[in-house]
Symmetry: D3
Subunit: 212 residues, 6 copies
Amino acid sequence: MGRSAAAAKSKAAAKATKVVPPAADDQPVIALDLASPAQLSPAMQAYFQKCQDKLGFVPNVLAAYAFDSAKLEAFVAMYNDLMLGPSGLSKLEREMIAVAVSSQNRCYYCLTAHGAAVRQYSGQPILGEQMVMNYRAARLDKRQRAMLDFAVKLTAEPWAIEEADRNALRSAGFSDRDIWDIAAVVGFFNMSNRVASATDMRPNQVYHGMAR
Amino acid sequence: MGRSAAAAKSKAAAKATKVVPPAADDQPVIALDLASPAQLSPAMQAYFQKCQDKLGFVPNVLAAYAFDSAKLEAFVAMYNDLMLGPSGLSKLEREMIAVAVSSQNRCYYCLTAHGAAVRQYSGQPILGEQMVMNYRAARLDKRQRAMLDFAVKLTAEPWAIEEADRNALRSAGFSDRDIWDIAAVVGFFNMSNRVASATDMRPNQVYHGMAR
Amino acid sequence: MGRSAAAAKSKAAAKATKVVPPAADDQPVIALDLASPAQLSPAMQAYFQKCQDKLGFVPNVLAAYAFDSAKLEAFVAMYNDLMLGPSGLSKLEREMIAVAVSSQNRCYYCLTAHGAAVRQYSGQPILGEQMVMNYRAARLDKRQRAMLDFAVKLTAEPWAIEEADRNALRSAGFSDRDIWDIAAVVGFFNMSNRVASATDMRPNQVYHGMAR
Amino acid sequence: MGRSAAAAKSKAAAKATKVVPPAADDQPVIALDLASPAQLSPAMQAYFQKCQDKLGFVPNVLAAYAFDSAKLEAFVAMYNDLMLGPSGLSKLEREMIAVAVSSQNRCYYCLTAHGAAVRQYSGQPILGEQMVMNYRAARLDKRQRAMLDFAVKLTAEPWAIEEADRNALRSAGFSDRDIWDIAAVVGFFNMSNRVASATDMRPNQVYHGMAR
Amino acid sequence: MGRSAAAAKSKAAAKATKVVPPAADDQPVIALDLASPAQLSPAMQAYFQKCQDKLGFVPNVLAAYAFDSAKLEAFVAMYNDLMLGPSGLSKLEREMIAVAVSSQNRCYYCLTAHGAAVRQYSGQPILGEQMVMNYRAARLDKRQRAMLDFAVKLTAEPWAIEEADRNALRSAGFSDRDIWDIAAVVGFFNMSNRVASATDMRPNQVYHGMAR
Amino acid sequence: MGRSAAAAKSKAAAKATKVVPPAADDQPVIALDLASPAQLSPAMQAYFQKCQDKLGFVPNVLAAYAFDSAKLEAFVAMYNDLMLGPSGLSKLEREMIAVAVSSQNRCYYCLTAHGAAVRQYSGQPILGEQMVMNYRAARLDKRQRAMLDFAVKLTAEPWAIEEADRNALRSAGFSDRDIWDIAAVVGFFNMSNRVASATDMRPNQVYHGMAR
């Protein structure tokens, strides 16, 4: 094939390819063909309804887990305790950890859903973007910077965490109980990131536009 | 300091240092000073008793979580569903995943506790060692090798898992439901490894000698 | 300090810390104290005016380079040729490369500015997010997927690119001239990412809200 | 294939697969088909006999090298000088280095054989396990911790070792002669790990149960 | 095939293979089949003539870019400003950065061409070799060591550069304007390394013997 | 300090710093203060003399080991067997492995000394440079490329070598005995690289100019 023919072909290809509008970017929710959703227990029915009422939709991660009641309930119990229960960390701080961890693991589902949460809780859309892109670019105070440094190191090199790392958190004002909570949130998203990546879990499209 | 003096000093140091017997290698259970254990709920009391009866001891991870009932119960519910509930994966296979993941993350607690479980379930002490050291050294059939390749890739590079990786599991005989279970166990130990590493969680010493 | 005092202190800290609203997230534009902007040449004056007219603002990268006319003009000449000049790659494709490369390098400036460009050129806000978060999550055709696989490998492991990698692009329909253009855009953003990261270059805040 | 059929097939597969008992985990000794063992020289005959008398078996690494007398003798000479000759490092310390290096390189042969040696020399089975799993989990004094930090850095990033690293050893009480010995042992196991991994060298099964 | 036959075959193969003399190591200049060189503009004709007069040859990177006048001119403008224009960095220092960056990226073209430049500018052939092999092996003063540490970190982990890194340069005596120049040279070679690696660009053979 | 003062200071610094001529780049031979060279045994005296006669100098690695006769003799015996003894690999091929491994480990000593050996054995100075810079840039036949791919993978990820890697060597014409030799040379230089890096071992300056 001569050069000009190749060039012509290449140009045609460029025109012909347009990214197909992802009208259904979040369908199917996961790339696994699992059983139909189990009949939700009354507690889970109520929880899904609450999501619908508060958020206007049921997060896809719940839809994904709904194929099995025991798994759904265990996931919801742990999530709600960690992210919404009593803690020395604010809810925003827990969401900041969620996004910084998910950025290290490049998890599309969690970056989308929890990036929206950071935008919402903080009222600062840019903060959400910074957590997604590179938490080091955010202008954080010493406390939150230490928290995220620990979170990302624990994600990337868990084997290298030692007393000096815990002491850095203590110096930044965290109690030992707070350190547990940081570790637990980091751990939880290292789990969720992997379940989402393993199954190609798709975030509800609505997240992308929230709290911009 | 002259050379011979330095040499003498060095030799003396070598003699003087002996590793202090880790009589208390598993004390304290974690390096955080948390609240005293909460009063266990009846369900958790029964569960701890069951551990005592079956294993002869309560795993330290449970002792660590016991400072807060909600956290303990959520952890136990998820653990028991994943590792002991119905699945297309045998219990041994789930433990093999646990150890291969923990080896990638070099988690002392989980390698010790779940390495013992592999030895016990399989009746093959060497298999447990191989999961700890390098799962590629074990002579596995195609199914279990594919399972562990997926588990370790999902641990090390979760962002790179794609349909081809899921298809490799399907070719090795796994159903989509099995793939969920593999992902969930991998996720769970990526969580536990990080909670354990963040807190310097110490495995009960008794594990080391079990099922040798 | 007793436990309850520590807890109280920790809670107070959580309340006290609120992320300061980044009213001036893009000020100063870079973290270096350089000379005042040089007098812009007529060509550059016209170019800045054109930016103002078309975008409504002058991108901060231009403001950053404006301290030295020769550097500004060289940067603009190369940028405009690569991103806007004739090519077998569409402008959207060149921006997709820009963002996928910048995601590998976690560059806050480029992810923000070029993420907005992908949203705008494609009319698909989600595509922009996927390029930022993990290009593998986007549902791309074979051509664009091959293009981004090459771009990210060339970014992460330039020493490992060989004829097989070029052939993968040829199989996906790219001409040799297209391969040059892909390489040149990848190279350009590997440069820009580093200038931006080295200087803490801040993207104009307005980018964050564009084309959502 | 319908879901229930797939589930049934998957369950059957789980039952059918049992890990084949590795009755012969250490046969063949390596995955290369080399010449029959050369006739051992009198010196090597005596050495093998000494192994048999002292350990009860000939380590497989010696069996592997025995195909060529010159290679066997060079290996034995270097090994014995390094690991058993005069040094400011105790024999236990040299074995600790061997295992920490082999853990970094995930070498099945060396972790097994030298893990047993650490258990034996120290009289502390747990110390051997910690060297295998993550040396940072062991409660070491400053001297041994500095020694292993140097060993693992020299293994993972040899290009980054500089005067500051040597000074850290000097501060921990090591003489320059000791530093040579640490470097030499680290180097030796970086060699042995690679010969073992390249050939799938199998440790004598008896090691696994020693000194538990 | 018996062992001796295999050995014989292997020996024959060893004899038969001799590396073919790379009489044409720099032909073709790149592995892409691009259009014939465009007619050079008068400015570029003069520039190529100047190279011929001063160096005795036209660097292959220019021959590679010559297929397109706009690309060639933009490249030359940026290169000349950065590497030859006014700066607080000496020309040798800029070349040292070029080589240290290219070593991190293992770029055959740039290591060859700019390694020669370091040998020539410094009059110290060994310094050129050290920049190619491992800049940490060179005995540099504090200023140049800080400069190269920054350059290599910015190349390997651009996302991790922060104010502390800039301050390390300031402490070593660099002005903010110098920091821009360091960043710009690092950026430029991260671009050039990737264009060269993507196209298998071959350095003029004559470089290898220059200034030895 | 005003901008022009800073600029002036910076320019002065640039002029003031000139790299001190490394008249003594190879002195001292290592950065450890060891005992004076032991009295060489007659065999080693003869060997040093032979080096002097053949090469015109004694390689610094031998001078470094000479502080202890047992270590020197063990090193020499292993080196001579591996690099000069009978093998299906040519001496040039063994030197190519030495340099490719040392490039992966960025070892100044070994790259210098064995890079010279590749230049000398091959009569192709460029081949030596390519082994130092990036072996993938050399135009090798299938046999030598497979050999170096194995060598570099075994160096970088020894834990991942498996039967498929050995089979790639067999397909490229290597016997099992050859595979042992490749592994042994790779292992040896992974050892030597680390001893050299740990001690800042300096290559004899004369190597740099040999066989150019």
